[in-house]
Amino acid sequence: MSEDLKEEMKKLKEEMAGLKEQLRDITEKEREKRHGIHIDVSDRVHDYIGDVIEGVAEGIHGELEKSIFIGPRGVRIIRGEERFRGEREVEVSFPKAAEAMSALGQEHRLSILKELMSGGKYINELQEKLSEITTSTLSSHLKVLEDVGLVVQEKVRGRYLITMPGRAAYEMAMRVARFLERKNQE
């Protein structure tokens, strides 16, 4: 092998090592994004201290996963697919679920939730946006949504706000609708 070729191989090896390093950084950053908190324990560190740190990091991560979710504009700690894992483990009452689904199962109520997705609104603002619904019907729809906890009304200002379950329910309904529409088009 000529000296030039050896030199070329050496450079390529160095470039490969650099690329590997970059790839590791990118992977690490992605992992941090998905997992939130991550304490770096290098593959090369297999000593006792490393093991202890890793154990502690996993413990902290596990605890955080159980208890913390940070809003979309804040720092996200829990992986998206695992966000509702805690809720899934809770035994769900079918009557309660049916009640919530029943409240959702009305076109006008979905329109109300859609309007509230962009922020709290007074009843007259909702009335303006949803002119096809009469005031009394709008009030009764809001009452249904409030009773099942999808909407909450401020007592002082009187604005209606969509709750966390309300937002989740609306998003779920939209996902199902989109899925069914795609199925129908196929």
Binding site: S67, I68, I70, V156
Partner: protein
């Protein structure tokens, strides 16, 4: 701190009209006509009242996050004596001397019965005051309320303009314009300039 030497006035009055004691974007405290009141004095000056009658506390202990609103409003009828410190001067015109019939209407057989309850409340509040400094709030525009809860503890509301702190049995709510913290049995939520942190139990 050394708790200031608050003491009660000598006479019991009644509200001659419904009075809104505090009103802000997120809450209201009001009393209805006929509610009994006794002065709370400091160095001879009226610094507040203890009320007994029909009071109402409304508080929107709700935090709006990007993922939806968390919390629910508080709407409590207050039928046990409660304390208010701060902003007492201008209110005296809304009260007149209470007679026996007014005391009876509020379930007191005589003035001493109300005074004894009011003293008990002031004493319990004063004991809390040794730990938490409330003095600044009664010296400026802020208000301090102490409501008795079902567990015979005190629910405290501190309010100064848009800033408010509410500490009740199962709820802590702190709000200042676009920043808020709500602690309830479900967990804790903090929001600041649209960014939220939710800690579930």
């Amino acid at each position: 701190m050394i708790w200031p030497d608050y003491h009660l006035g000598d006479t019991v009055s009644k509200a001659t009209e419904a009075i809104r004691l505090w009103q802000a974007e997120k809450g209201v405290v009001e009393i209805s006509k006929g509610t009994l009141a006794i002065h709370v004095k400091l160095d001879g000056y009226v610094k507040g009242y203890i009320f007994l009658g029909h009071g109402r506390l409304i508080l929107d202990t709700i935090v709006e996050t990007e993922d939806g609103a968390i919390g629910k409003p508080v709407d409590r009828e207050i039928d046990r004596p409660f304390l208010m410190l701060g902003k007492a001067e201008g209110m005296q015109q809304s009260f007149s001397l209470a007679g026996q019939e007014n005391l009876s209407e509020m379930g007191c057989s005589n003035q001493q019965e109300f005074v004894a309850e009011a003293e008990g409340l002031l004493d319990r509040f004063s004991r809390r005051g040794r730990i938490h400094d409330h003095r600044h709030s009664s010296d400026n525009n802020g208000l301090v309320f102490a409501f008795q809860n079902e567990a015979n503890g005190l629910d405290i509301l501190l309010a100064d303009g848009a800033e408010l702190v509410y500490k009740a049995m199962n709820t802590v709510f702190v709000s200042n314009n676009d920043r808020a913290v709500l602690k309830s049995s479900g967990g804790v939520v903090c929001i600041s300039n649209g960014k939220s942190v939710i800690v579930k139990r």
